[in-house]
């Protein structure tokens, strides 16, 4: 039989395609390297600036006009207070919405509409959420510039991300497990509570913690709400006003004194440590509880 493939040409072509393979591998490596180098430079700058300013006093002091006395205490505590509101509110609303959409709602135009809008909401600029919070929580509901108002605003901001993450986690639970449960006469809620949620929890938590770390680093909505940046006392409850780390850092960077740049760098390091801590919790949960089917 006559051969349709000319072996000679195959051999000639071989060098070219192997070369292209290597060139592309190198390009992709460069792309990774670029991001990595920028990150390292950034971290290097921040750490060299922050060194010497970062000490126990910095964590223990309130903001001050004098850079050597300035500290992040109000911001750090404020950020933790913010989480006290954002974590439960956004988790309950987000997971609840995801359960409804994935398990209960029949597919209809209405649910399609909700679905599309949730995905779109995830892309809405955070400053818009700030304006919404200002109108509704600060003014209409008269909550003032409180932890509660800011927490609810931030919850709305991260809600779409949590909903989508939770939906994906719930969808990843194999249907055959649900069938097995229904097959024994379990109700929908029993199936969700005993089968679906335990299997989906790692995914839900990982997504949620990542969303929460976004909330902890976010500034724009709080600027719109008018959260102060110079507070020399700690909030006593959720209706008190407060400040958060990113706001504090923003304030320091806009000061004319050169030393405040170093104070800001120290603040950034603290913020990064908190973020890395939260992300490692997410990774820990993912690795520890991840189930394979």
């Amino acid at each position: 039989m006559e051969k349709l493939i000319d072996k000679q040409r195959v051999v000639q072509y071989m060098d070219g395609r192997l070369l292209r393979n290597n060139v592309l591998k190198f390009l992709f490596f460069l792309a990774t390297l670029f991001g990595l180098i920028v990150l390292v430079v950034l971290l290097y700058r921040i750490f060299t600036q922050a060194i010497g300013w970062l000490n126990v006093d910095f964590l223990n002091n309130f903001p001050s006009r004098r850079p050597e006395n300035a500290g992040i205490k109000a911001g750090l505590v404020g950020s933790l207070w913010l989480m006290v509101i954002v974590a439960p509110v956004s988790l309950i609303l987000g997971v609840g919405t995801a359960i409804y959409l994935e398990e209960y709602a029949k597919k209809s135009r209405f649910t399609d509409f909700i679905q599309t809008n949730i995905s779109n909401l995830a892309g809405v600029p955070s400053i818009v959420f700030g304006l919404l919070g200002l109108t509704i929580f600060v003014r209409e509901l008269n909550l003032g510039r409180s932890i509660l108002a800011a927490g609810l605003t931030m919850s709305l901001l991260v809600l779409p991300v949590i909903v989508v993450a939770a939906q994906e986690a719930i969808r990843a639970v194999p249907n055959q497990l649900r069938e097995a449960s229904y097959g024994m006469g379990a109700t929908k809620w029993q199936t969700i509570y005993r089968i679906v949620l335990p299997a989906a929890i790692p995914g839900i938590l990982t997504g949620s913690i990542l969303a929460l770390s976004r909330a902890i680093g976010e500034t724009a909505p709080l600027v719109v709400l008018g959260i102060p940046t110079f507070l020399a006392y700690l909030p006593q409850g959720i209706l008190d006003t407060f400040t958060v780390m990113p706001m504090q850092i923003y304030n320091w960077t806009s000061r004319p004194q050169a030393d405040f740049q170093n104070v800001a760098a120290a603040g950034i390091v603290v913020l990064l440590v908190v973020l890395i801590f939260m992300n490692s919790i997410a990774i820990f949960i993912r690795n520890k509880f991840q189930k394979r089917y």
């Binding site: 029949k106 194999p174 497990l177 097995a180 024994m184 006469g185 109700t187 089917y293």
Partner: protein
């Protein structure tokens, strides 16, 4: 005159008796997936303490039918049914018939072993627990009895609290049968329970089915005609959504009434 009365009474008694032994009576069942007419005018009676096999080529509606018997089919969107299936005399499509109640009476074993990602013990105890049984002693007893019933007790008794995913495929399937027995059902539906298993595990499940039919009515969908011939008392042959023939298994495989059945079982198509 009197004789006819006696005869009538006798007929009636006979009818009542057979009525008692009928577990499922399907009357003129039609089912559509959207526009696709998947089951056409099904009439089928299923009897107590027998193994009823459902055979037929892929896409003939046999899985659809068995999933209709415990209304599992309703999990598929856009399914419509007409006609009637009575289970022990009650129409399962009745609005007042709660589907959870039906599925408590009718257990199901699926094509692929689908244990929960829990311990062996928790898998078997799942059913009783969702029905409100909390007593540890009773649960222990149910678990042991069910695992014995599914002929897997000896293999797992020392590791009841380890994850069920550590079992082999065949063991997992017998665990699923045990899980199904734990709710003490009346009927067991089996949807190609051995299609994902090796021959030895298949043999074990088949022996188990023989054992189980003493206490349960079993309906089994199978791709494997030899399996149907080996283990069932009655066989229904489905083709393109219709029941072509429903007969005693011996009769259907040795001397089928319908030419199409003969063609299928002799391997001329399918």
């Amino acid at each position: 005159m009197e004789l006819t009365v006696v005869k009538e009474r006798k007929n009636k008694q006979a009818e009542e008796r057979s009525e008692k032994n009928v577990v499922y009576r399907t009357k003129n069942l039609n089912l559509w997936y959207g526009e696709h007419h998947a089951l056409k005018n099904i009439d089928l009676d299923i009897y107590e303490n027998e193994v009823t096999a459902i055979i037929g080529p892929s896409g003939c509606g046999k899985s659809t039918y068995i999933k209709t018997l415990n209304r599992m089919i309703e999990l598929v969107p856009n399914v419509r049914t007409s006609g009637e299936i009575t289970y022990r005399g009650r129409n399962i499509f009745d609005k007042s018939y709660r589907v959870e109640e039906l599925r408590t009476q009718v257990g199901m074993v699926f094509q692929k072993p689908n244990p929960f990602p829990k311990s062996i013990y928790d898998n078997v105890a799942y059913g009783p627990r969702i029905h409100g049984i909390r007593d540890k002693k009773i649960l222990d007893e149910i678990v042991e009895r069910s695992l014995r019933g599914a002929a897997i007790w000896d293999e797992v008794k020392d590791r009841l609290h380890t994850n069920a995913y550590g079992l082999s495929g065949g063991q997992q399937q017998r665990l699923c049968i045990a899980r199904c027995l734990a709710i003490e059902p009346d009927v067991i539906l089996m949807d190609e329970p051995t299609s994902a298993l090796d021959p030895i595990s298949t043999l074990k499940v088949e022996e188990l089915v023989q054992e189980l039919k003493k206490n349960y009515s079993i309906i089994i969908v199978t791709h494997n005609m030899q399996q149907a011939a080996r283990i069932s008392d009655k066989t229904a042959f489905f083709l393109n959504g219709e029941v072509v023939e429903y007969n005693d298994t011996d009769k259907l495989f040795s001397n089928p009434d319908d030419k199409r059945t003969e063609d299928y079982i002799t391997g001329r198509f399918g």
